[in-house]
């Protein structure tokens, strides 16, 4: 393969992420989609029982292209153990750096969907849609 776009690591995140799924009990969660490309992400986190300002676990669910799903998996991995404030302060640059590939303007929306969803979850301050409530919209 001549470029990094579909490198093994991203493909692993895409189709075998340990962070895909739902938590027993989420504290914060949200759903977002890119209506134009049909990518959908549900992202949720559980806070640390001892230290409620900190994210203990993160999960995502949804469907879409490799970039959108791999980004969600990487983000989940990255935010576990971080203070919420720090997670809220993550930027597009962080996300793109973790993806490790240049994103054309057309693919930026895919790469940043998970981060936007996490920010929304934090801003809303609610667990969002419970597991099994149908596909995220």
């Amino acid at each position: 393969m001549d470029d990094a776009f579909y490198r093994e690591e991203l493909l692993d995140h895409f189709d075998s992420s340990p962070h895909r799924g739902r938590l027993e009990a989420a504290d914060l969660g949200a759903d977002l989609d890119n209506p134009l490309c049909g990518d959908q992400i549900h992202f949720e986190v559980a806070l640390d029982a001892e230290d409620p300002g900190r994210i203990a676990a993160a999960r995502f669910d949804g469907h879409g292209c490799v970039i959108s799903q791999a980004a969600a998996s990487i983000l989940a991995e990255q935010v576990e153990g971080r203070p919420i404030a720090e997670a809220r302060a993550l930027t597009a640059d962080h996300m793109i750096q973790w993806l490790g590939i240049p994103l054309t303007p057309a693919r930026r929306k895919c790469g940043l969907l998970a981060l936007r969803t996490l920010h929304r979850a934090i801003d809303q301050g609610t667990p969002g849609a419970p597991a099994g409530s149908g596909s995220p919209a």
Binding site: M1, D2, D3, F5, Y6, L11, F14, D15, S16, R20, G21, P35, L36, C37, G38, D39, Q40, H63, G64, C65, V66, I67, R107, C110
Partner: protein, 439 residues
Amino acid sequence: MGRRFSGIIPRPAHPRTMATAVPTTPALDDLRADFPALDQEVRPGVRLTYLDNAATTLKPWPVIRAVQAFDAEYPANVHRGIHTLSERATEAYESAREKVARFIGAAEVEEVVWTRGTTEAINLIAQSWGRTFLKEGDEIVLSDLEHHANLIPWQMLAKERGVVLRFAEISDDGRLEPEAVERVLSDRTRVVAVTAMSNVLGTVVPLEPIVAMAHDRGAIVVVDGAQGVPHRAIDVGRLPVDFLAFSGHKMCGPTGIGVLYGRRELLEAMPPAWGGGSMVLRVSREGAEWNELPYKFEPGTPPIAQAIGLGAAVDYLSRLDSEAVASHERSLMEYAHRRLAEVGGVRILGPEPEYKGGILGMDVEGVHPHDLAQLLDRHGVAVRAGQHCAMPLHHRLGLPATARASAYLYNTTDDFDRLAEAIADARRLLHDRRPRRPA
């Protein structure tokens, strides 16, 4: 009744007979050399396979040269100057209008209004005709196939005027049966606005019975010809549609130019949608008297080079045998349907080739359309992925997005071989890898 174009352009006495008096018919296989963009590598060693024609077509040399000649030799404004260059520009610009009128079989050249494209043309109908003649409770019939360009302008009107939108449903294979239109017609139907060809599925819409049943109810028919006109699917001399909208860039012409064809009586009765220079005859502080057709709808300096380019595109297309072009595209689609069935995991959306034009909508199992488009691009194969400005249709299909390969005059079966190979490669990478992902 309308003024002829400053007497510069003689109107053809019999526009329709001229359209058929084609001098020579170049063979289709010689055409590729006319399109310089075809002959390139998108990156070293990777040849371009252009299958995104429904988004925009490539431009042949005569069109490129016509645009360049305007800019290089006579870049003057039209209908204004008395000097030589301006007269030359005006003549070229108005003769492009004549060519377009002939191409679509319009009875009168004044029925051809320049717009920026299909989108602007349909907005013009909705904003001018719609706001003038529709009232609360009136109904507009659309179909599930419509591009947003033939949906949003009507939604805006519906919201403003309390007009009701009704939708003719498509069959599971993406066909629009006349009976489906009949079912949503009523005594309140004032407009039937449908596409001539779906930009997602390629479905060719049976306009003839639809026009007849709409007219029976006293409704006007608006045809979105963005995909149909490039394939010469519509002749308004034979099929009495009331309005027809299309874009130059999807038929070998430049971007930024398109056409609203309207029957004279309708255009005469419509107020201008926009004001400015050129669209008026007499102006005082208090008011103005509108210019004649088609200028009433064309305020400001128009896209002159682009209109001239579209004229050259129409000349180019008119030299081809439209039957040969249609059968070329049909055989390409038959080939593509067969070839892609061999790939495995490819579901072709929409009807069988006999019911459609050169558009192939696809769903590839295990490969998101965006990933597919990106992976195909590595093979130099240009397709489009997404919702193609047709969200309601995607809802109807139950798919978040689709991929689309679309053909035009210059495509060959080789192009579809490369498409098939590239899809197989994408499948190997993304689908056949490891089905480890939890369901």
